[in-house]
């Protein structure tokens, strides 16, 4: 087991380094150095005193100590053995006493940068680590062993304070539970230490001088005054920034491919084809930096060439007439060609090949340059634009070197975000927590569909900066940001609320509707299974087919679910499927939001936490049902623009009257509901009403039974509750006299229409009576109106 040696040479050096790092001590050493030199000159040459030689000794020793401290003492290099004493960072060795223990260490590590990093980014505060330290033995040995193991896992140079903190937590027998309370895992902490080391390295390298060719770099290249006016020089703009890091191996390959393509003869162009957000611009920036780097291995024919991005809107704005614009573009291209060091970049290249507002068609001017290979050109565009350009101008498409830019995966996005937040934090003066990054990754992948990763996660992070509280961007801030900027309504209930609701789902639903015990229980059980994690996470929360006659509560149960589960009836997306009876209606179902905001995909994109009610599903065209199969099966649907829309946070309910008569018949025959369900399902398949693969996609098929008069009486009572709630602000109360509820149930009863006529009956009677009383001034604040049978007869 590892043991810390307080008197090891590394520990001694670290302690000496700490003393010498004091600004007062350093100032004194520099002072001694200069006084020594001055004293030497003065005493030897002016005073003719040999003591001056001793002054040189003072100077030499002080400068030697200064050099030693900077190179060897501040960051004591690791030793040759693999022992903890060879691997501990100088900061940690300074924080450890003669007989270190976790509690003492937890107190001291929070004075270091890595401790503060963990506290701010992860919420792993000093109090938290100290409370963990109370629960473990005082021996640091197992902690050091664990820290060494973690160091090897992330290939870190030293065992830093952050790693020791992670190791202290990992040593606690209940560390998983403790971290779960902070929504973290142990791997997150290890990743955090890696992140800290990476950021530290980046900040250090940002101060390093870059060699970029020097003052005579551009002597052999021409001036480009016109081009400069209508473009942005990417190479120059990256000059003083932190070096662009290419995180993805595929992107690195593209940069190499670009260098190879431009350094050979033949086609001097690259078309970077990829969706917005995939990092096309980052690739161009990395390529531009590579060419400007004197130390990079780049062929001399490409070295110090500058990547210049042409600004389409500036060109259009400055040219008055059509011919003028063409003349200007030709001039710009010629200038770029004659300068001999320009690589022209046409970002969003579709803007240069269209005849519409805000665009300019330069294909006729560009083609000779592309044909002859006289000018190096980079075009960036999405797949759709590439296909459009290919369709319009196949000869142009044939001459382009097309390179596909793939979106980043979850892990790559995370490491890109970890780099990029440096810029965002400086720009918005905020600090991002680690969980904010994870949440941005998760939520953007699920709810942002118009751009790709990592762009959408970065956009979300940037917009979240405006909603930071106290300068801190947390996971909650990210949720707020996506709700406010994207209109996505996320669930608002807490986990405790949700658990309570699920356990009492049946009674909560029955507060709104009566009877249908079988259907309510079936749905409630399915919802509980889903919440307990038993369900398939790649499907909607629940998918149900409600079968039964009209007016028996199918829609009411759907509304109740929206109310109970998603905190409001507003979270119900209702589609009458009798409006989707032709094959062409599939298009309406999946139209993009900007074309039709009432399409199913558009509504779910903005309200993912909803009950989706597909009313009268049996009337939908088979093509529509086929489209819905994917939704039920995989929890996703692709809209007209091929954006993936997630239904994984929705409850999907299809209702149908099909087989309503059969339900009555089976019940009259005395069959129980399970038998009814089985026989009815077979019946519907045999009659061709539904295909078996469609019915099999639902989690549950719920049978709704016809309502009898006693149930209608209970519905009257429920409706009265609702009327009284409406009148509550006026302090008026309505009661039903003896036999009134039964009379209303009798009047509103229709075996074919269920409870539906009852609502109209109550409007005509009870509501009319109340309205009259209020208008006649008979019902003032505090009044109790009792509706009697006589009153009913009068209406």
């Amino acid at each position: 087991m590892s043991e810390f040696r307080y008197n090891s040479i590394r520990a001694k050096k670290a302690r000496l380094g700490k003393v010498l790092n004091n600004s007062g001590v350093r100032f004194s050493l520099w002072l001694l150095f200069f006084l020594g030199i001055g004293g030497f000159g003065y005493l030897i040459f002016l005073e003719k005193n040999p003591v001056g030689w001793l002054c040189t000794i003072v100077s030499m020793i002080s400068v030697a100590v200064l050099l030693w401290s900077k190179s060897d003492l501040f960051r004591v290099p690791i030793g040759k053995g693999g022992d903890i004493n060879d691997l501990l960072s100088a900061n940690v060795m300074n924080a450890l006493g003669r007989n270190p223990n976790p509690l003492q260490f937890a107190e001291k590590v929070y004075k270091t940068r890595s401790g503060k990093f963990l506290a701010v980014r992860f919420g792993i505060t000093q109090d938290f680590v100290q409370s963990v330290a109370y629960g473990i033995p005082e021996d640091m040995g197992p902690i050091f062993d664990k820290a060494c193991e973690m160091r090897a896992q992330i290939d870190a140079e030293v065992v830093s304070g952050g790693l020791i903190v992670a190791a202290i937590i990992a040593t606690h027998p209940e560390h998983e539970r403790l971290l779960n309370e902070k929504r973290l895992e142990l791997n997150d902490l290890v990743d955090g230490v890696n992140w800290y080391n990476h950021l530290y390295g980046l900040l250090k390298s940002s101060g390093e001088k870059r060699r970029d060719g020097g003052i005579a770099r551009d002597f052999s290249f021409g001036y480009t005054p016109t081009l400069s006016r209508y473009s942005v020089n990417i190479s120059e703009s990256r000059k003083h920034r932190i070096r662009t890091k290419v995180h993805m191996a595929s992107h690195r390959e593209i940069v190499e491919k670009m260098i190879e393509a431009f350094s050979k003869g033949g086609r001097q162009n690259i078309a970077l084809v990829g969706a917005e957000g995939t990092g096309r611009e980052t690739i161009v920036e990395a390529f531009a930096e590579e060419l400007m780097d004197a130390d990079a291995k780049v062929p001399s024919s490409l070295k110090y060439r500058q990547v210049v991005s042409l600004d389409a809107s500036a060109l259009i704005a400055s040219a008055g007439e059509r011919g003028e614009l063409e003349g200007l573009v030709t001039l710009v291209f010629n200038e770029a060609y004659l300068a001999k060091n320009i690589i022209l970049c046409l970002k969003n290249a579709e803007l240069f090949f269209k005849e519409e507002v805000g665009a300019v068609n330069i294909s006729n001017i560009l083609m000779p340059f592309i044909d002859s290979g006289r000018l190096r050109i980079i075009l960036t565009m999405n797949e759709q634009s590439y296909l459009e350009i290919s369709a319009k101008n196949s000869s142009l498409a044939n001459k382009l070197n097309r390179v596909l830019v793939e979106p980043a995966d979850e892990k790559q996005t995370m490491s890109i975000m970890q780099d990029e937040i440096l810029t965002l934090e400086a720009k918005y003066n905020v600090t991002y927590q680690y969980l904010a990054l994870k949440e941005a990754n998760r939520l953007s992948a699920r709810y942002i569909n118009d751009i790709e990763m990592p762009g959408k996660a970065l956009n979300l992070l940037e917009s979240a900066a405006n909603y930071a509280t106290g300068g801190l961007v947390t996971a909650e801030t990210i949720s707020v940001a996506i709700e406010k900027t994207r209109g996505v309504k996320l669930s608002s209930g807490t986990e405790d609320d949700d658990r309570e609701k699920l356990l009492n789902l049946e009674s909560l639903i029955h507060d709104r509707m009566v009877d249908q015990e079988f259907a309510v229980k079936t749905v409630s059980d399915a919802m509980r299974r889903s919440a307990a994690g038993v369900r398939n996470q790649k499907k909607p929360i629940g998918t149900f087919l409600f079968l039964g006659p009209t007016g028996v509560g199918k829609t009411e149960l759907s509304k109740s679910l929206a109310e109970v589960y998603f905190n409001g009836e507003d979270n119900l997306i209702r589609l009458d499927m009798n409006e989707f009876v032709t094959e062409t209606d599939v298009k309406r179902l999946i139209e993009e939001g900007k074309d039709n905001e009432t399409s199913l995909t558009a509504q779910v994109m903005t309200h993912p936490f909803s009950v989706i009610l597909l009313d009268e599903i049996e009337k939908a065209h088979p093509a529509v049902l086929t489209t819905l199969l994917q939704l039920l099966d995989e929890g996703v649907l692709r809209d007209a623009k091929n954006h993936e829309v997630s239904f994984k946070d929705a409850i999907v309910i299809a209702t149908s009257n099909a087989g309503a008569d059969k339900i009555r018949q089976y019940l009259d025959e005395g069959k129980d509901l399970l038998q009814v369900k089985e026989e009815l399902t077979n019946e519907l398949i045999d009659s061709g009403e539904f295909r078996p693969e469609f019915l099999n996609r639902f989690d549950e098929i719920c049978i709704f039974t016809p309502l009898g008069k006693p149930e209608l009486v209970r519905i009257v009572e429920l409706n009265m509750k609702s009327i009284n709630k409406t009148l509550e602000p006026r302090k008026i109360k309505v009661e039903l006299g003896e036999g009134v509820a039964e009379e209303l149930a009798e009047r509103g009863y229709d075996p074919k229409m269920g409870a539906r006529p009852l609502k109209r009956t109550m409007q005509k009677t009870v509501e009319n009576i109340i309205a009259k009383k209020v208008l006649e001034g008979e019902a003032e604040s505090g009044a109790v109106i009792t509706i009697t049978l006589d009153m009913l007869q009068e209406v």
Binding site: I9, P50, G52, W53, A64, R217
Partner: protein, 127 residues
């Protein structure tokens, strides 16, 4: 204390000296890059800033001649500017190289310099 002194000596003649030499080479490279020495040598007679009419095969003879003269002037201007900068760069580079070499020689001799200073003090040498 003795351990630290030994450690200092190990560093002085080991990593410390190696790092000094690396820094010295880096600073020479910086100077070469700053004055674009390699580019100046490689392109000494290249046209300056491409300020010259482009030569094309199908131009009349008089225009081709003018273009050739243009190019010649541009090359001469380029060579003059580059040569002047090359001289300035070489001087700066030499200065940096000489001081660096002197310090590189002095580095391993420092303990001897201290001993030398003590001897000079004891002998009472003054100027």
């Amino acid at each position: 204390m003795l351990m630290l002194v030994v450690s200092f000596i190990q560093w002085w003649y080991g990593r410390g000296f190696r790092e000094y030499l690396e820094r010295f080479v880096d600073r020479l490279k910086d100077a070469i890059d700053f004055f674009s020495i390699r580019l100046l040598i490689r392109n000494l007679f290249a046209p300056f800033r491409q300020i010259a009419a482009e030569e094309r095969g199908n131009l009349p003879l008089n225009l081709r001649f003018r273009a050739w003269v243009d190019l010649l002037v541009s090359r001469l201007v380029g060579a003059t500017v580059r040569f002047a900068l090359l001289i300035a760069g070489t001087i700066a580079l030499l200065f940096r190289a000489i001081t660096g070499i002197i310090l590189a020689i002095a580095w391993p001799l420092m303990p001897l310099l201290i001993v030398g200073a003590v001897i000079l003090y004891m002998r009472g040498v003054v100027f």
